[in-house]
């Protein structure tokens, strides 16, 4: 039971490039989330999903897109990377009210 896994662990992008951050959970949780953590701050919600095919915006969705085709996977897409998207990205999942987090992806946009 791996829990929540994220790939890659680190990535450097150039301004305007695109990439997908992968997130997979093996706990059969319906709810999944994407957060970003900027230096010296707590996590902020980007998008969330209540199940396959259903997603919704969180507090800071601009510049991101998500999809949820299976219960296990919840990828986060950056279409046109900007320096403001330099951050650490966390994926999480839950069945009840407690969320379990992946190890994070550190993304730098130069």
């Amino acid at each position: 039971n791996a829990g929540v896994t994220q790939t890659p662990k680190f990535r450097i992008l150039k301004i305007g490039q695109s990439m997908t951050l992968q997130c997979t959970q093996d706990m059969n949780h319906n709810y999944m989330y994407w957060y970003r953590q900027d230096p010296g701050m707590g996590l902020k919600l980007i998008y969330y999903s209540v199940g396959a095919g259903i997603t919704d915006k969180g507090e800071v969705p601009n510049g991101y897109n998500v999809s949820r085709s299976t219960t296990e996977d919840f990828p986060l897409r950056l279409e046109l990377a900007a320096p403001s998207q330099t951050s650490v990205y966390f994926c999480a999942s839950s069945r009840g009210y407690t969320q379990y987090f992946g190890p994070g992806t550190r993304l730098t946009v130069l």
């Binding site: 319906n30 709810y31 989330y33 957060y35 010296g40 701050m41 707590g42 996590l43 902020k44 919600l45 969330y48 999903s49 209540v50 919704d56 969180g58 507090e59 650490v88 966390f90 999480a92 839950s94 009210y97 407690t98 969320q99 379990y100 987090f101 190890p103 994070g104 550190r106």
Partner: protein
């Protein structure tokens, strides 16, 4: 909108002593959940303790306990017998109990230093 405030950017404690981290929150909801997460240098977010607002009894997990004051909207974390492995960022978090996939609202964190 809910807000979570951690007023102590950094705290320092001697090993084996007790330390209390503060957290206050603002909400108009009557039922909700509160959490403390630990983030060591590995950056993994680790659940330390959780509290349901409808429960009057304070949650306890081994050396970690909370002081939940609902009327004051206060949720502090007490760490007893501090150990070197407790050194980390600690985040207080809130979520409503609506039954949906509500995200967590986090404070800015407290950096806990353990002095050997």
């Amino acid at each position: 909108a809910q807000t979570v405030t951690q007023s102590q950017p950094e705290m320092s404690v001697q090993e084996a002593e007790t330390v209390t981290l503060s957290c206050t929150y603002d909400t108009s909801e009557s039922d909700y959940y509160l959490f403390w997460y630990k983030q060591p240098p590995s950056r993994q977010m680790i659940l330390v303790i959780r509290q349901e607002a409808y429960k009057q009894q304070n949650a306890t997990e081994n050396r970690f306990s909370v002081n939940f004051q609902k009327a004051a909207k206060s949720f502090s974390l007490k760490i007893s017998d501090s150990q070197l492995g407790d050194a980390a960022m600690y985040f207080c978090a809130y979520r409503p109990s609506g039954g949906g996939a509500d995200g967590l609202t986090f404070g800015k964190g407290t950096h806990l230093i353990i002095q050997p």
